[in-house]
Symmetry: C2
Subunit: 202 residues, 2 copies
């Protein structure tokens, strides 16, 4: 068997292990999940699993990095080049909502939920990737204010208000619930950018 | 010693144990915290701690109920009687933000974070208390729409957008950071109720 073919199979196998582990950790929490649970779910022995991973914490780091890859590919990279800052922010909200509502993004849920579990360098690495997103939002809000596309607000509060609204969705949204994905995007954009309070007629 | 006095001391002792346990669980996560950790932090032996609690899961339920008591006392009960639905919602946002920013509310953080840890009846009980708040918000938004105090929006999405913005604060806000509590309240109210996008001049 050519080594390239082996590497490909290894990559697919690895991705499958990360996705399986993410599913188990989502259900039981990181601390409540044992290596045995993950091995069993992946159809491997513990020794077999350790052939693919270094440690439970390193596996968590890999899941988070995989989740950040998916996020950057499907959200950040899609909108970063949009010239108008308000359009950029609106498009970013839409893409991020859809990433959270898509049930397969267990890796994203782990990033959101297991915020304090990593230590040392691993924690620094993931935090740096998260901070890149916060800075992108802050910069876009500041730019939108300068361009008079939005009213003056504190860019940091605006960035975290945006994130709170969008990322909290994983806690309550159900695909078979009374609100559709499309409605959710439209309504959230409306609430956040349009404002709720009625203006007095002049 | 009169039994009333004993009961009072027991109540204070119990509250102290709940607060200590909440602090430990906040730091290490529920699954990562052992009964031994909690006993040690509370200055008790394991047997001594079991004199006060039934089980680790029952302790978590008690912490959550205590957190919901604090929330209802400091937020919900303060605003529920405000006649104007928009004023009610604004005041509710302010009170809830201050509850989250006050560092002592570890019990509230546990309610927010350990959402999937309780089982059976205990889970049903806490979920019912949480749902009461969501229903209060939905009803207030619906009322504000009917009274034409806000634009028409989906009350469920508005309720969870409100909750996401406000409850996410525990993940990023630091009392010694660049945004003060007062600014946070003002800016969030401004963003959520006032809307960001500039209106075209007529």
């Amino acid at each position: 068997m050519p080594s390239e073919h082996k590497a490909d199979n290894g990559g697919i196998r690895r991705k499958k292990i990360l996705e399986t582990a993410a599913k188990v950790i989502c259900e039981k929490g990181y601390e409540g999940t044992s290596i045995h649970d993950i091995a069993e779910a992946a159809g491997l022995t513990k020794a077999g699993l350790y052939h693919h991973i270094r440690s439970k914490e390193h596996l968590l780091l890999e899941i988070m990095n995989y989740g950040m890859d998916v996020f950057e590919e499907q959200v950040l990279n899609q909108v970063v080049a949009i010239a108008d800052p308000l359009e950029r922010l609106k498009c970013c909200m839409e893409k991020n909502i859809l990433l959270v509502t898509h049930g397969w993004s267990k890796e994203v849920i782990i990033i959101l939920h297991e915020h304090a579990t990593l230590h040392g360098q691993a924690r620094t690495q993931i935090n740096a990737r998260k901070k890149r997103y916060v800075r992108f939002l802050e910069t876009s809000f500041a730019e939108a204010i300068r361009a008079q596309r939005i009213r003056p607000v504190h860019p940091k509060v605006a960035a975290f208000a945006f994130l709170g609204m969008v990322l909290w969705i994983y806690k309550w949204f159900r695909p078979d619930g009374q609100v559709s994905e499309g409605e959710l995007v439209k309504e959230m954009e409306n609430i956040f950018f349009g404002g709720l309070e009625r203006r007095k007629q002049r």
